[in-house]
Amino acid sequence: MTKILYANDLTACFSLWRKEGMRVLGPVSKAKTSGFGEVQDAHELDLNLVLTARTLKELFFPRTEPMFSYSIGKQKIETGEFLPSENACIIFGARPCDAAGMAIDDELFNWDYRDEYWFRRRDRSVIITIACKESDDFCMCTSLGLAPDSAKGSDVLLRPLASGNGWRVEELTPKGGKALQPIASLLKEGSEAAAPTAEVPLLFDLEACTTWLADPENFESHFWKEISERCIGCGTCTYLCPTCHCFDIQDEGDTYEGIRRKNWDSCSFQLFTMHTSGHNPRATQSARWRQRIMHKFNYFSDKFSVNSCTGCGRCTRECPVDMGVRETLQAISTLQK
């Protein structure tokens, strides 16, 4: 016997959560794109999507975020800080790859210095993930050591019922358990079978890839130029990646008052690393693509013992020139063998 949440009860769940002062967010398709937005009613959710176009990370790390306001007086510099409130949020219907990505980003944002902007939002959010029963041509979680029903990063995991009218509920963390309390009355005991999870084919041998990448000999391999020759240097892959976390700090306003902001930035951009002197350590697009791959599969794991890729496949799915982590790792996997 296990707890079951029926789809019919979802809207009622949302009201119960809201009564507790929690906001409810979930995958929505709106205005020709899909991402996570606040919902009142279960019908607003788009739970049939294999994956939203935009990732979960923008809930914790918005693409532009005011950090401070400043106003410069004769005697004093006044600063106000924008920090997220601690109102709890229920994020309903994340995918396992996105949820895992958040756990990976936690490592970085907590590396010796704790980023309050990220963690205030993380701490107040409960991620309720739905295991995938479908995948598309670009999904590759299994190649990254995850699965369509991975628990990493989630507080509650829901497994779709074979009947299609609800989910089996698995509580994963105390935070998840707490979030389930207000809706306890709507969780029914049952033994209905879960639908089989999506079958995501193994596309490459990750270990072979990381071994190849770890070899300093390969850093200047001709491979990098060949694999990235068509890269146009836009930031799509990085902006739609659940684990890419690079940012810029920019002031908007004048010398009297304004706002200091944290904006997404991308290692694909030529100006990202350019020194004022004009020297650019990563001067070519292939160097920048190499940085992205190396960062995900070598540098990040060097620091935090985990690769910063969850196999969501968005980089390939959305690339204007059909590149992505998948092609690169498939090619490396072959090279290593």
């Binding site: 670009f138 836009c234 930031g235």
Partner: protein, 276 residues
């Protein structure tokens, strides 16, 4: 022989006899429906080339890759008539020399790719003149017509909604063969004219500046809209600009490589109905 076969053997020939050092074309992509730009330098690889109705990307921008044309050698590239116009504009803007470009011309008609006669960009001037005539007769886009009928408040709201999605990944800029500036105006910070943040205000500013900088230069290839990961209808802005320069100045970008850029030239009798 299918057009794909014809062009494969043409590419082989060009590479074998050393007429070109590279062929820029389309290859198979990650999924059966996808095509990707490929760069062929050896005749043996020419069989990787694919040409069919799924080949939509304007490849002309790749010619501006740093150093590619620096050695004065030629490059062949698969181009639609709009792609050829791109080359003309780039030449007019002194970004490349047309002598270094061999055109593998094609056109998509419905489900098929059709071969276009010609080797050099100048060979396509007839086709381009035809297109200009057709473009003049072409009604404006359905959505654009709806927009024209709205009040300005409604129009502003429409674009506010579209631009609010922009994540400032600059894929539109990177995908555009016309955006060749080494340092884009948004990346200049002394002064910072356009907000770099992707709040709606910054997005509006960026998209207006982008569309304006393409006025009279855009060939309507669709690379920008295709690249946009949040599906902003960028082509509507570009088309509006194209129509404006066409009606106001009878200007069709990329007619030939000697055409003066529309915003860098003038006629004393240019219309000025809106000036008080």
């Amino acid at each position: 022989m299918s057009i794909q076969e014809q062009y494969r053997s043409r590419a082989k020939e060009l590479l074998r006899e050393g007429t070109v050092k590279m062929v820029i074309g389309y290859g198979a992509g990650t999924t059966p429906l996808r095509r990707r730009p490929i760069f062929i330098t050896s005749p043996d690889d020419a069989d990787r080339l694919v040409l069919d109705a799924a080949c939509r990307t304007n490849l002309a921008g790749y010619l501006l890759r740093e150093g590619l044309l620096a050695d004065q050698k030629s490059v062949a590239v698969f181009l639609t008539p709009d792609g050829v116009r791109t080359i003309n504009i780039l030449a007019a803007e002194s970004q490349l020399a047309t002598e270094q470009v061999i055109v593998l011309g094609f056109q998509i008609d419905g489900e098929n790719a059709r071969q276009l006669e010609g080797t050099r960009v100048a060979d396509f001037s007839g086709i381009i003149a035809e297109r200009k005539k057709k473009r003049k007769e072409q009604p404006s886009h359905e959505v654009a017509r709806k927009l024209e009928q709205m009040t300005s408040v409604e129009r502003f709201s429409f674009w506010e909604g579209e631009f609010s999605r922009c994540i400032k990944c600059y894929a539109c800029r990177a995908a555009c063969p016309m955006c060749w500036c080494r340092r884009c105006v948004v990346d200049n910070n002394q002064p910072q004219w356009v907000n770099t943040s992707s709040h709606t205000l910054g997005n509006l500013e960026w998209n207006l500046v982008r569309a304006f900088h393409l006025a009279g230069r855009c060939v309507e290839c669709g690379n920008c809209s295709e690249a946009c990961p949040v599906n902003i209808p960028l082509h509507l802005l570009n088309r509006r600009m194209t129509e404006e320069v066409l009606t106001a100045f009878d200007y069709y970008p990329g007619a030939d490589e000697h055409q003066e850029p529309v915003l860098a030239s003038f006629r004393k009798d240019d219309p000025e109905t809106f000036i008080l």
